[in-house]
Amino acid sequence: MKVIKVDPEKCTQCHTCDLWCGIEIGSTAKELNAAIHEKPQPVPRVHVEGNNFPLHCRHCEVAPCIDACPNGTMRRDPATGLVYVYEPTCIACWMCVMVCPFGIIAPSPSIHVAVKCDRCRNMEYPICVDVCPTKALVLEEREEGATWYGYAPKRSF
């Protein structure tokens, strides 16, 4: 499956990725100047944190959020392997928020659903990768088993 690779050396913390994430994914207008004035305020799914690192969902192979979700709201798209929130059934118990090892999932400030990055699964290309001016974000094929979190099944200790 394809995931977003982050190169912290190239990231300048310009926040272009989270701004555009807010416009493209968070807003209904899909236009910067109109999105700003939308109520509720659009929520970006990417967070650029202190150390030059935009945090996205890693779509863990063994995903704690899917395991923790009590009613199957947190799902994995079988075709692409991407993890997403099926909003209609979210009961806002915030179990996923609690267990996410990367702190990616957040309660929406306005409605009772969990909000997370789904790597723009319905789009050809994730918007953050598209807009990153320094190419610190690139879309890359991830090897099966080379997981970011979980049991790292292929490695022996």
């Binding site: 272009t16 989270d18 701004l19 968070g26 910067l32």
Partner: protein, 561 residues
């Protein structure tokens, strides 16, 4: 990111776009595409580089990280972004004026009306002092009193511009106060523009409406061509035209004041396509000022072996010999460029340009508005912006307004854009105008086109027209059915112009968005607070809309009065 939009409405420009793509010649549209996505923080005005502790940004979608290092919050950041543009724009007008005035003082030309020139020069001195100039007193007393009460009366560059520029440095001024300073700076620019227009008339004599031809088709094939780009001293233009007189050489203009009596320089194209004349191969020398000139010209000109001569250089020397050198260079270049083919599209449009308030019977216009024969008066200004299909917005909006019986005046590059589409051609007048407007225009004279061009942005044609209207209507400007629209603006000067238009009491629509959209409060202050202080709003419309909706907005604004 891809840039999906038709580039231009002008088929003469379109003619060269394919060639440019094939030869991989980068034009403004390519560079724009290369810069996408543009910085959203800058676009919304939520950024600041006014000190070296920054740069600071404030995220429009997050409440945290709201203030800059020095404590500027979103609202102040947005207001400062506006102030920055206005200051730069007002300085543009002052630069034009002082450059010209210094030339006149140095006796670079022989003025037509000497006494008047001396009087205006003295007036210009006052700008450096307390700003109590004669020109600003031409405004109705009530309006001036309002300006004084609000505190925006332009009292000299020290009190207005220098002070305003320091608002960006710090201080604890609130949004409203800071914004008023911006209007004060803008009005200073207005005074400078009025002085320049008057000085020009006194030095060269009045200009009259003139028949000109516009668009790339005006370029000649078999004689040397000098193109004047952007704004620089009209004295130098006169000297160049003088030096070219009697020789087989043609002097034309792009983004410049086309009229320096007794000469005129046909506008070859307008701002958005200022690189295209080079592609015809029919340009032998380019003379450029700084304002309104794309730096890309220098590199592009090399492809067609054209020399670009900047006028705004240190130690320029005597204007007369500088002009002679330019003409000689053009002649030599024409010989040397013999093998370069000249591809001139056969597209030109005739137009009548260069009206001034005295050439129009404002009495009739004011009466027609009062009697409801026409719906109102619209001021169209601002040159092209790559964010819109070139000329599409302004021409379509103008056509909509004309159909709905709105008397349209235009200035500067906006006029050239409209002229390219025949809206300044008196013969095509009745095609585009509604009945009421048609009757009014034909009563004004045979030679009046659908849209009346009030000269370049180097003259204060529009301001003088407003003063004339206010004079005959005997009521404040803000009570007239008037609206101003900048559909494709791009220069800081246009922002300053929009600001002073609002200060005079005319509701103004500005596209693209001013960089204040990041702060809801600033947008509200620009409308509500300005309405309260000046009787007019500076509208910042954040929704994307088609030209028809824009025209409807303008119509609604006219009907409100």
């Amino acid at each position: 990111m891809d840039f999906v939009q038709r580039k231009t409405e002008d088929s003469a420009v379109d003619h060269f776009l394919k060639e440019a793509a094939e030869k991989e010649i980068p034009l403004v549209w390519d560079r724009y595409e290369g810069s996408l996505p543009q910085c959203g923080f800058c676009e919304t005005g939520l950024n600041c580089r006014d000190c070296l502790q920054g740069p600071c940004i404030s995220h429009p979608f997050k409440d945290q990280n709201k203030v800059g290092v020095c404590g500027k919050d979103k609202d102040i950041l947005a207001v400062h972004s506006f102030v920055r543009l206005v200051v730069q724009g007002a300085m543009g007008y002052l630069d034009q004026l002082t450059d010209f005035a210094q030339g006149v003082e140095a006796k670079e030309g022989s003025p037509k009306r000497k006494q008047e020139v001396d009087k205006i020069l003295k007036d210009i001195q006052k700008i450096l002092g307390n700003g109590d100039t004669e020109v600003i007193k031409k405004f109705p007393k009530a309006l001036m009193d309002e300006w004084k009460a609000t505190g925006v009366y332009p009292d000299g560059i020290a009190g207005a511009l220098f002070k305003v520029s320091q608002k960006l440095d710090g201080g604890v001024g609130n949004i409203e106060e800071t914004l008023l300073w911006a209007f004060k700076g803008a009005l200073m620019g207005c005074a400078a523009q009025m002085l320049q227009g008057r000085l020009k008339a006194a030095v060269f004599g009045d200009t009259a409406p003139t028949n000109v031809e516009v668009n790339l088709g005006v370029l000649p094939k078999d004689i040397p061509v000098v193109l004047l780009y952007g704004h620089f001293s009209p004295l130098l233009k006169l000297k160049i035209a003088d030096a070219a007189k009697g020789k087989k050489i043609k002097v034309m203009g792009v983004c410049t004041d086309s009229f320096v009596a007794p000469y005129h320089f046909p506008p070859v194209t307008n701002y958005g396509s200022q690189e295209i004349p080079l592609m015809t191969g029919a340009v032998d020398l380019i003379v450029t000022g700084d304002q309104c000139v794309n730096p890309s010209l220098a590199e592009l000109a090399k492809i067609w072996k054209v020399e670009v001569v900047p006028t705004e250089v240190l130690n320029r020397g005597d204007l007369g010999s500088f002009a002679k050198k330019i003409v000689e260079k053009a002649q030599e270049a024409f010989k040397a460029r013999g093998e370069i083919s000249r591809d001139i599209p056969n597209m030109k449009e005739s137009a009548v340009m260069g009206f001034s308030a005295k050439d129009i019977d404002v009495n009739k216009v004011a009466k027609a508005v009062a009697d409801g024969k026409i719906k109102g008066i619209a001021i169209l200004a601002g040159c092209n912006n790559v964010k819109f299909t070139q000329d599409h917005e302004i021409v379509s909006i103008a056509r909509e307004l004309l159909k709905k019986d709105v008397f349209c005046v235009s200035e500067g590059c906006a006029s050239v854009g409209l002229a390219k589409f025949g809206l300044l051609n008196p013969k095509q007048r009745d095609v585009s105008c509604g009945k009421g407007l048609s009757t009014l225009l034909s009563s004004l004279g045979r030679n009046i086109p659908a849209v009346v061009d009030l000269g370049s942005c180097e003259n204060s044609g529009v301001t003088d027209f407003l003063l004339a209207i206010a004079g005959v209507g005997k009521k404040p400007i803000k009570e007239f059915r008037m609206v101003a629209c900048f559909p494709e603006a791009n220069r800081t000067k246009a922002v300053a112009r929009a600001a002073w238009t609002v200060a005079m009491g005319i509701p103004t629509y500005f596209w693209p968005f001013l960089p204040v959209t990041g702060s809801q409060k600033t947008i509200e202050v620009l409308s509500g607070f300005c309405e309260e202080k000046f009787g007019a709003r500076l509208h910042v419309v954040t929704q994307k809309m088609e030209y028809k909706e824009k025209a409807n907005l303008l119509m609604k604004s006219l009907e409100r009065k």
